[in-house]
């Protein structure tokens, strides 16, 4: 079968039900990768022992924006153990990579392995030293002399927009790398007519993914065959393979990108990196294996950042709290380059795409400019744009609720798109299909006992305590298919996924996918689906993923896509393999395939003693000459490609309960509740874990994490002492409620990997604003560090003259 499948019929789904006894989908199966990962037996790229590998250290720019005048490597080259020193001049055969897109007014910055004539952020790789050990490479790096002519820094995105601002990319003619605008309805007249208007300037500061495992690349080069295998801690091995093919001018069959165990990504490993290109170039140039392992300082300065936006937004409402119009202008500080393949539009454009949220807001204008600055490039980061859009919209709703005097829960219930209105096209053009908007809010309120909590808050307030309750509701598009492009016109199909399932001569089941799990437990989740659809046990299924060779068009794991797309493809392919096995089994059992049922690896006719196993069938098909007629001896194998076309809508409500200490102004999170609808649950344990991790990351965005550059463009948060990531002690107990409204996708799944990070910042911001309502403080800037709270509270106290 070659066609891409976009849906399954009811009969096909019914066939699965009749022919199997599913017991894994929906079960709390313990993650099969965990024994390996938790006992130190995982194999990350850095664990791979390649005896003769050379090691790379980069001399990176210490200027924010400067012209490179000269590079002197004489002293460095003399260090014993140094094999090669590479600069941009040495890489002339390497083609720069561009993140192409059809967006009008978009400029795709060239992406090179090493800076060529200018440096554009502190931490940009300029010189690569290749040596027998990393220690020696670093010693030599110190001896490289680079002369720079400093250029005006471009650190303030608002100033960078001005026509006379210094340009980061002269060829672009502007620092605005792309601008877009979404409009719908009579937003101006409705805003003007609205009796209640709330507005603010919102600031969401820059974050960095800070995965536990730093990035690591190892290029193994086979000189005899001119074949290159890049072992990469990437989320997108297939995408990297394609980019390398272009950059190196090598066809894909001599290029392989493998992502072995990967220790978290959060979007930071979903793009192509200069270091990745360099390692591959160097291996081929030197005819040796070449390795680079990022240290934490490099990770914090040169892995893609995320979420750096300034949003001026206004919401108009009627007296009852119904939203009449929403208008927003967004500036995205996207850093120095337009990241491959997603483009710099990805993050800021998503902000305006999702600002209307799960609400009936028909009059909308959202405009966005993605502005280049001399800072590290931004890229995808868990939640992409939506943590920011949710923060802004949910804050505006709370501000309006307070102004009008309605409860935070009521104002949301009034504005949610109702069940009978789906599918619903929001102001930015996104279409929501049915999902539990209202039910999630009600379920979350029930789980925290909202009324009792409000009573407790009243008591706390009268005792002088600052207790706050914050609600945030949102919807997200997940598991997107081919109709929806992450960045319009990019040369990349993110909308399909392929499953290749085969049963070998021993009866072993191997299922290969283009996804690349980096902590999500996909080896378990997908095995559950394959096991149920074939009628075997989870332990009978081996999942292959994280390998550009697994299927012809592998991209990877990003954008909460993997379960929806790979789960669908697995269902389709397993059905075909089961059909083939049933034909052979029917022969062996002298039965009709229609009578058969598969369960735990057995294939039998119910209520008879006619029974065989997949193992037996495999032996008969492959090994026992003459036992089966030729027409049922074909390989027990199938490849299916699934495209959910539009994708699925996931929705959720988060509630944060916290107290602000009236003396120290520190925040203590007391409780966090999430009610979410990711459709049919495959593994509730894994879903809970994803929500917990996402919420922790959202709490980081709300209270702790901020990448700080000074006015000279120097990065001040280059260690984990200064870039503050919350640890277990900072994360409150969480309670997760699941709604499970089936989706139109095969299996009824919806994507859910990013969600926790989307809701938590807004919920925490709303809770703090609620706690500080007696002081009339709004929270418009995240993270709300103790220092920011100190300034807000002191200012409020001096306003009211209530100085303690």
């Amino acid at each position: 079968m070659t066609e891409v499948v976009t849906k399954q019929s009811a009969e096909e789904a019914a066939l699965d039900e009749r022919q199997t006894r599913p017991k894994n989908i929906g079960a709390k199966v313990k993650r099969t990768e965990d024994p390996r990962l938790l006992t130190g037996r995982g194999t990350y790229v850095d664990d791979r022992r390649t005896p003769d590998a050379l090691h790379v250290a980069f001399r990176r720019s210490d200027h924010s924006h400067a012209r490179i005048l000269s590079i002197d490597v004489t002293a460095a080259r003399a260090v014993p153990g140094v094999v090669a020193i590479l600069t941009a001049k040495d890489l002339t055969e390497a083609t720069p990579v561009h993140a192409e897109s059809r967006m009008p007014s978009y400029y795709a910055t060239p992406i090179r392995a090493l800076a060529s004539d200018k440096v554009r952020f502190v931490g940009e790789p300029v010189v690569a030293v290749v040596a027998e050990s990393r220690y020696l490479a670093e010693d030599a790096c110190e001896l490289v002399e680079i002369a720079y002519d400093p250029l005006p820094v471009v650190t303030d995105p608002e100033a960078a927009v001005a026509s006379d601002a210094a340009l980061l990319h002269e060829e672009a003619g502007t620092n605005v790398l792309v601008q877009r605008e979404f409009k719908r309805g009579e937003f101006e007249t409705e805003m003007f007519a609205a009796p209640v208007r709330v507005k603010g300037r919102f600031r969401f500061h820059r974050k960095t993914p800070a995965a536990m495992e730093n990035r690591c690349y190892l290029a193994e080069y086979d000189t005899g065959r001119d074949e290159l295998t890049l072992h990469s801690s990437t989320q997108v091995p297939g995408i990297i393979r394609n980019a390398l093919s272009e950059a190196l001018g090598m066809p894909g069959h001599r290029l392989r990108v493998v992502a072995p165990d990967v220790g978290g990504g959060f979007g930071g490993k979903a793009s192509l990196y200069p270091e990745e290109l360099l390692v591959a170039f160097a291996a081929r140039r030197l005819g040796r294996s070449v390795k680079w392992t990022s240290d934490r300082m490099e990770d914090l300065t040169a892995t893609s950042h995320g979420f750096d936006e300034i949003i001026d937004a206004e919401m108009g409402l009627d007296h009852d709290g119904r939203v009449m119009a929403l208008i927003a202008d967004v500036i995205g500080d996207v850093g120095a380059y337009s990241i491959y393949p997603w483009t710099c539009a990805l993050e800021p454009v998503q902000v305006v795409s999702f600002l209307p949220g799960p609400y009936r807001i028909q009059n909308y204008r959202g405009a966005v400019r993605a502005v280049a600055t001399s800072k590290a490039p931004t890229g995808p980061y868990r939640g992409v744009g939506r943590p920011i859009s949710t923060f802004v919209t949910e804050r505006l709703l709370d501000m309006a609720a307070r102004r009008i005097g309605v409860d935070a829960r009521e104002i949301r219930l009034k504005n949610f798109i109702q069940d009978h209105e789906f599918p619903y096209r929001i102001g930015s053009g996104i279409v929501w299909d049915r999902s539990s908007f209202t039910d999630c809010l009600l379920a979350a309120c029930k789980a925290v006992d909202y009324e009792a909590l409000r009573r407790r808050q009243a008591e706390a307030r009268s005792a002088g305590r600052w207790l706050g309750i914050g609600i945030a509701s949102y919807a997200e598009l997940t598991g997107i298919g081919s109709r929806i492009s992450v960045a319009p016109g990019m040369p990349l199909n993110t909308g399909t996924e392929t499953a290749k399932i085969r049963i070998d001569t021993t009866g072993g089941v191997t299922a290969a996918f283009g996804v690349a799990s980096h902590g999500q437990g996909l080896e378990t989740t997908l095995a559950q689906v394959v096991a149920d659809k074939l009628g075997v046990r989870v332990e009978d299924v081996r999942i292959i993923q994280g390998d550009s060779n697994a299927v012809p068009n592998a991209t990877g794991t990003y954008a909460s896509r993997s379960t929806v797309l790979a789960g669908g493809a697995a269902t389709l392919a397993a059905r075909i393999v089961r059909g083939k096995a049933f034909k052979a089994a029917a022969h062996l059992l002298e039965a009709s395939p229609d009578e058969l049922v598969a369960e735990d690896g057995r294939i039998y006719v119910p209520n008879t003693n006619k029974t065989t196993t997949y193992k037996e069938v495999a032996r008969a098909v492959y090994l026992e000459m003459g036992r089966l007629p030729p027409e049922v001896r074909g390989e027990l194998e199938a490849t299916s490609t699934y495209d959910p076309v539009l994708g699925t809508t996931t929705s959720s409500t988060h509630i944060a309960v916290l107290e602000v200490d009236p003396d120290t102004y520190t925040v203590r999170l007391e409780k966090f509740v999430v009610a979410e609808d990711c459709g049919k649950l495959i593994n509730p344990l894994i879903v809970d874990g994803q929500v917990h991790g996402g919420v922790a990351q959202g709490i980081g965005a709300a209270l702790y994490e901020e990448v700080v550059y000074d006015q000279q463009g120097q990065i001040l948060t280059a260690s984990l002492v200064d870039y503050v990531v919350p640890a277990a002690a900072e994360i409150p107990p969480m309670h997760v409620v699941h709604m499970e409204t089936s989706s139109p996708a095969i299996g009824g799944y919806r994507g859910m990997g990013e969600g926790g990070t989307i809701g938590a910042p807004a919920a925490v911001a709303n809770a703090i604003a609620d706690a500080l309502a007696p002081l009339d403080i709004e929270i418009n800037e995240l993270p709300v560090t103790p220092e920011r709270l100190f300034r807000l509270i002191e200012a409020a106290k001096s306003r009211t003259g209530d100085e303690k």
Binding site: E138, D295, M297, T666, Y704, D722, P786, E787, F790, E794
Partner: protein, 291 residues
């Protein structure tokens, strides 16, 4: 993030460590728990030509109560101090403060001597030695000397140690049994260096303060004692006015730094509210509330 090359000597005894250190002529560094030194080496902020590892030197890790003092060996690990029954009995303020030092993995390795010698102005142990008027025992090829904690901390990350000296022991005078104490700290996360912290001990008779000690950290280049506020409390009974006066005195006596995590003003604010709470709690304990 790899250190430049260095030589490594594992000393078997104190004499060996001292002679190796003095042979290095100012270019050697003592390696104790390595929790501060290793990051400095990896960042290439410290570039010693030789490391003298003292972890195998016998007789440097102990906690002992003598008649009037508690003696602690320089190689005692943070966690050993935290769990020591001697410390819990005689220096409860130390036991309480130790829980704020970093994380368990770091406390298992980090040493008392290392923490004092490193002299981070936001670290707990330097402040505790100052608060409790501890005396620091130091060895060099020239012999032994003892210095008051007050004379040891010169400025941020700088002590009065000479290049060839090794801290060997710390002696804390035992406070009176009924002495009240409290320790209050604010850090961004559990285990982080403090934005500000306050330690207090109070001796009271008939609810009147006979002696008060107030130590602060994270609010200047070294840990500090609030001598003026201590004097304000002496001979007084606890009252809100007295507390406010003490807080005002503390706030005007300190000159905190501004960094990424907190401004000078916020640190000053914290010093005040933490001192207020700590003085109140210590006083309550001194008055016989043993909770």
């Amino acid at each position: 993030m790899k250190p430049p090359a260095f030589d490594y000597i594992a000393a078997d005894n104190l004499e060996g460590a001292l002679s190796a250190l003095s042979a290095a002529g100012g270019d050697g560094k003592v390696l104790a728990g390595g929790q501060s030194l290793m990051p400095m080496l990896n960042f290439r902020l410290a570039r010693p030509s030789v490391l003298i590892d003292i972890n195998r030197v016998p007789g440097l890790a102990y906690v002992e109560a003598t008649g009037s003092t508690v003696k602690v060996g320089a190689l005692t690990r943070h966690h050993a101090l935290e769990m020591s029954p001697v410390i819990k009995t005689h220096l409860p303020v130390v036991a309480a403060a130790m829980q704020h030092v970093a994380h368990l993995a770091i406390r298992n390795r980090g040493t008392i001597g290392g923490s004092l010698s490193h002299a981070d102005p936001a670290a707990e142990l330097p402040m505790l030695t100052l608060l409790l008027d501890a005396r620091i025992g130091i060895h060099s090829p020239r012999g032994r000397r003892i210095t008051d904690a007050g004379d040891f901390f010169v400025t941020s990350l700088v002590t009065s140690l000479e290049e060839d000296e090794i801290v060997t022991d710390i002696e804390f005078p035992k406070p009176a049994r009924e002495s009240g104490w409290a320790f209050e700290e604010v850090a961004r996360r559990a285990g982080d260096f403090a934005l500000a912290a306050v330690g207090v001990t109070i001796d009271a008779r008939d609810r009147k303060c006979e002696q008060a000690r107030i130590g602060l950290m994270g609010v200047g280049e070294t840990p500090v004692r609030a001598h003026e506020a201590e004097a304000l409390l002496r001979g007084q009974r606890l009252s809100d006015t007295l507390l406010d006066e003490a807080v005002a005195s503390i706030r005007s006596a300190i000159e905190p730094n501004t960094d990424l995590h907190a401004s000078s003003d916020y640190r000053r604010h914290l010093a005040g509210v933490l001192a207020k709470k700590a003085i109140r709690d210590a006083w309550r304990r001194a008055d016989g509330d043993r909770q």
